[in-house]
């Protein structure tokens, strides 16, 4: 499910107007780009790796990896695949459509999207931000 926020309460009309006028593809590109940058940094930190070690493992120059991770790189599928391979983790997940059949042979298809929930203190909680005023969002 995609959730778009209406910035109706934003005190600044200029930004509100800009956000409202921004094409969806631009919104998706920017958010995905930031998600990838954050994800890669998290994985490196989790593994206790340095950028030098990552570069060595990938057969790249340290300066090239530094460029990738400091934002001066337009990620391609190939560069993401290289990072996923070296870090041994998924960075970009593509949802899959799966068919389920219950005990009375009623079947349905569902698109499985990860990261919509996360585990906190042993319980699944919604990863999507909870708005103070739900009426501000439209589905």
């Amino acid at each position: 499910m995609n959730i778009y926020y209406k910035y109706q309460t934003m005190k600044n009309s200029a930004v509100r107007r800009i956000l409202a006028d921004t094409p969806d593809e631009v919104r998706r590109e920017v958010r995905r780009n930031a998600d990838i940058v954050v994800r890669v940094h998290e994985l490196i930190a989790e593994r206790g790796m340095t950028q030098l070690e990552l570069a060595t493992g990938m057969g790249k120059k340290p300066s090239e990896i530094s460029k990738w991770l400091s934002g001066h790189h337009n990620f391609t599928l190939r560069s993401i695949a290289k990072l996923e391979s070296e870090l041994n983790e998924t960075i970009l997940h593509v949802p899959k459509r799966e068919r389920y059949t219950n005990s009375v042979n009623v079947s349905c298809t569902m698109t499985v999207i990860r990261n919509d929930t996360k585990i906190s203190y042993g319980q699944f909680i919604e990863a999507a931000p909870i708005l103070k005023s739900p009426e501000k969002m439209i589905a």
Binding site: Y5, Y7, T9, M10, K11, N12, S13, A14, V15, R17, I18, L19, D21, T22, P23, V26, R27, E29, V30, R31, N33, A34, D35, V37, V38, H41, L69, S70, G71, H72, H73, N74, P129, I130, L131, K132
Partner: protein, 173 residues
Amino acid sequence: MNTFVLEIFDDELPACAFYTVRWDDQSINETNRFFEKFNSDLKYTVYIQQLAIFLFESIGTDHGARDELFNRFENEVMGLPVQGKVKIETVFYHYPEFPLRLYALRLSEQLVILFNGGVKDGPTNQTSSLHMKWREACAFARRIIEAIQNEEIIIDHENRTITCSGNLNEYLL
């Protein structure tokens, strides 16, 4: 330096609250001035949209003001008086050759003060046309840090608020 007002820019986003500054004799704050200026220039429309989404959705909604989403130029810090060691940072959209720069003072991952900015058209800020905006941002930041150190204003990181004794929503500095 003239008097300026520290005011809320947006405090309703889940991951980060944004403040901004406004000259006391002006009706529009510096960050809105930046967005209005570049949004009205067709050459920068896409860039200003990208920056707005990056700020208010990627940082404000998704991730907060994390290290990896900010660009730290050490040479910018050197332009400031040593006292206070203020770090002026650039809100940095991770995309090659992005032309716009917006200056910010990051107090925490949940609290950022936005200033003004401009076009990075030189190899350094000092040689770019946005040099004056950088100097202005440094001056704003220095005064804000002084106010924090003097407890004229109180930073509440947990509640993502900046407060003063009068408990107002805007503060004259």
